[in-house]
């Protein structure tokens, strides 16, 4: 094997921490274990609820590092209320409010007692334990180091407003300190001195929520003279910074605008990055952490204000130097579009994965004339104009997707940092905002959290209505949405996953077929026999009714690799694919298959990056004997 350095690196990665290996097991490998631990976990939870004897595993989580923890079953011991530890007995877990299945955290068997057992604001049972012998605290089985808290620190017994948790993290207050505990890794971040107690006025700062990035928001209150001052404090868990948003002061004589409107807080929760403030008068007020604005009006206005905000936000241009677009990844997509003068040109969109660019991708567009020979299949595209390559860059988050829609326009769908699905359209030489979808209806998170969606495909009909297929990351369903030019977005059809084991129904590509009344949607067919019937399905544009291809059509398709067909669906409802070095086109409406051309057999072709544009076909290929990673793109006209 060549690549000595890389091989050594691969070997070294083989020696990474066991815990990482276990936690990263692919589901196919993990399944039997998950069920097993789930049974144990459920039993332990029942035992806890019904007040049965607690049993803990003996391998301790001593120091906050989880290297020796997790679900491996070592010597077990029994913990009893009097602090004694018996010899090995059956194993149990405290699995309270732990994410998903199988993430049971063993307790240690040292002397200790269950100190507090409360339900947090999400209704999740969260257990606090103080281990007397170690002066340590545990939250749902996760240790908080004794160095971080003194024995004098008080656990807020039974006061659930001091604990806030979601599936991934637990935020807990212990006196003036606040700890954020990662349920999976047991990492603990501590903030000291940000939570105050005003004993004179019996005012406690309190945790009011966590957003989808697990930043913690605290409502801080203090009296300045006779005036009550309130602030929202944001603890940025990524940057480890603390910032304050002053919400003004309140006095009965001179109410400020904020407090005049919202009165007294009754409860707060989070929705994406927006904090909802429910007032005692029944009004719901939103405080947008990012714009630092309160929004009092109805839903429609909220949407508008966000779109306004986003429009301004993404109008900015990014300066990027494009040295040589062709040295970048093979992910480039080439489109045939009109430039700002309405002239035909070639547009290349590629991810500029420059080191140091963090999570941002520069969707760069190289514009220029195209040169290619008329002899089929053996000349590469060059992109240039009189000044060399030019670029119209657009900075978008990692994970955003590029689609070609009608008239050669390009649409980028981004899960924007604000929690929106944001569409940006490239048309006639410029990028422009093409609308946003409010979170709550379609929550998204570019940081790949569980509750975000992925836009898998976008199609546009002759009236300019966009149809986009999404996958919800709760892993149980997909959907197709309809987005008319003047909005609003509405659900066209929901596509729940099959109850068949392991099956999902991710719509891979969607297209408007030429009769203009129907869409056609393709689905992957991986590891799931029932999918065979749904490699392609028609979707009625008005009703959303989904109709799988007829049996005879299915028979025609089934002899081919459904994965290839699924990803090769073109915007006009045809399927273009290369099989045994022959380029074929399959008309799904008339169910006709025709050979386009033979391709050089010495090439290896990408099955996913085949673009049909009129009578021109673009695709990636690589000579079989070429060690380089640079893709060569061919064109046939």
């Amino acid at each position: 094997m060549k690549n000595d350095k890389e091989k050594k690196m691969l070997d070294i990665i083989g020696d990474i921490d066991d815990e990482l290996i276990e936690r990263s097991k692919p589901s196919g490998i993990r399944k039997s274990r998950v069920i097993w631990t789930s049974i144990i976990s459920s039993a332990a939870l029942l035992a806890l609820v019904f007040g049965l004897q607690y049993r803990f595993i003996a391998k301790p989580l001593m120091d906050g590092k989880n290297n020796e923890s997790a679900v491996s079953n070592q010597t077990a011991a029994e913990y009893t209320d009097d602090g004694s530890v018996s010899e090995k007995s059956e194993i149990g877990y405290l699995n309270t409010g732990i994410k998903g299945q199988g993430n049971a955290y063993p307790f240690d068997a040292y002397n200790g007692k269950v100190y507090s057992n409360v339900t947090d604001q999400n209704g999740v049972l969260t257990l606090l334990v103080k281990v007397d012998g170690l002066d340590s605290y545990y939250v749902s089985g996760l240790p908080i180091n004794k160095e971080d808290f003194s024995a004098a620190d008080d656990i807020p017994y039974g006061r659930n407003e001091q604990i806030f948790s979601d599936e991934d993290y637990i935020a807990v207050r212990l006196n003036e300190k606040l700890a954020l505990v990662n349920r999976d890794t047991s990492d603990v971040k501590i903030w000291a001195g940000v939570l105050n107690t005003d004993t004179e006025h019996e005012l406690n700062d309190r945790i009011i929520g966590m957003d989808i990035s697990h930043n913690i928001y605290v409502l801080a209150s203090e009296y300045i003279g006779d005036n009550l001052s309130r602030k929202i404090i944001k603890l940025d868990t990524e940057l480890n910074t603390v910032s304050e948003f002053d919400m003004g002061t309140y006095s009965e004589d001179e109410p400020t605008s904020v407090f005049d409107r919202i009165g007294t807080f009754s409860s707060l929760s989070t929705e994406g990055s927006i904090i909802l403030i429910e007032c005692i008068n029944g009004e719901t007020v939103r405080y947008d952490i990012r714009t630092e604005e309160f929004v009092f009006s109805e839903e429609e206005d909220i949407l508008n204000s966000y779109i306004e905000y986003l429009s301004g936000h993404f109008d900015r241009k990014v300066d990027a130097e494009i040295d040589d677009p062709h040295t970048y990844y093979c992910d480039s997509i080439i489109f045939h579009v009109k430039d700002e003068n309405g002239e035909d040109t070639i547009l290349e969109v590629y991810d500029n994965h420059e080191p140091g660019s963090g999570d941002k991708l520069h969707y760069c567009v190289a514009l220029g004339d195209i040169s290619y020979s008329t002899s089929a299949m053996n000349s590469s595209i060059t992109v240039s104009d009189e000044n060399g390559s030019t670029a119209v860059p657009l900075e978008k988050s990692s994970g955003s997707e590029v689609f070609m829609v009608s008239d050669g326009d390009i649409l980028v769908a981004e899960c924007a940092g604000t929690g929106f699905i944001e569409f940006t359209r490239y048309s006639y030489g410029t990028w422009k905002n093409a609308g946003s979808v409010i979170p709550g209806k379609l929550p998204c998170d570019s940081s790949l959290a569980d509750d975000h969606i992925s836009v898998f495909s976008v199609a546009e009909d002759s009236e300019g209505t966009l149809y986009f297929a999404v996958r919800f990351e709760d892993h149980r369903h997909s959907a197709v949405y309809k987005f008319p030019k003047n909005g609003p977005v509405s659900l066209l059809t929901d596509i729940p996953d099959s109850s068949y084991e392991d099956c999902t129904t991710t719509p891979q590509k969607i297209a408007v077929i030429p009769d203009n009344n129907r869409l056609i949607c393709s689905f992957p067919a991986q590891d799931c026999p029932v999918y065979r019937d749904y490699v392609f399905a028609y979707i009625d544009k008005s009703t959303g009714e989904m109709t799988p291809l007829r049996n005879d059509e299915y028979d025609m398709l089934k002899s081919w690799n459904p994965d290839v067909l699924s990803v090769s669906l073109q915007g006009d409802g045809t399927v273009v694919y290369i099989e045994d070095s022959v380029l074929y086109e399959l008309d799904l409406v008339n169910m006709e298959k025709k050979m386009i051309t033979e391709c050089p057999s010495s090439e290896e072709y990408s099955i996913e990056n085949i673009i049909k544009d009129g009578d021109t076909y673009y695709f990636d290929s690589q000579p079989s004997d070429d060690d380089s990673d640079i893709c060569i793109r061919y064109i046939k006209k």
Binding site: E19, A70, S72, P524
Partner: protein, 186 residues
Amino acid sequence: MLYDSEILDLYVKRSEQAVTETAKKYERYCHSIAYGILSSYEEAEECVNDTYLNAWNAIPPHMPERLSAFLGKITRNLAIKVYEKKHAAKRGKGQIQLALSELAECSDLKSDVEDESNRRLVAEAISSFLKEQKEEKYKIFVQRYWYLLSIKQIAHENELKESQVKSLLFNMRADLKKFLEKEDLY
């Protein structure tokens, strides 16, 4: 199924039941790892059998804290060796070859990784780096470069688009390089 501690007891007692119980509990896991690398049922099966033999020879004196990861590591190493033999003469298109080409961006290590202590140091640094990442990220990294799953499999596994997986891995490799530089290992 026995607990790991009980299986380990059987190894210590040199009972052949140890292998039977290991197979009962971990055969699927080990086979999945080997098959992911070799794409051959028979070869994967051979690797798994060799894994049991290696475990039998290693335990005792070695007493793994996590039996599954211990067995997984043996299987992975054996499978990579088999792959190397098979593909010694030609340029392959398998996941190992692809993973290697990706790792080129962060493999120029300063340390002499032939040395066992240095290897351990780098492995620990990589572990630390991964533990700093969000769970979704480190899982994808480990699935790509430890389990050697294809981008397609990872995308399917994590319900992401392949471009998202590629992008995430690219950024992680760049960040890993920086991390190793900071640790004076690069």
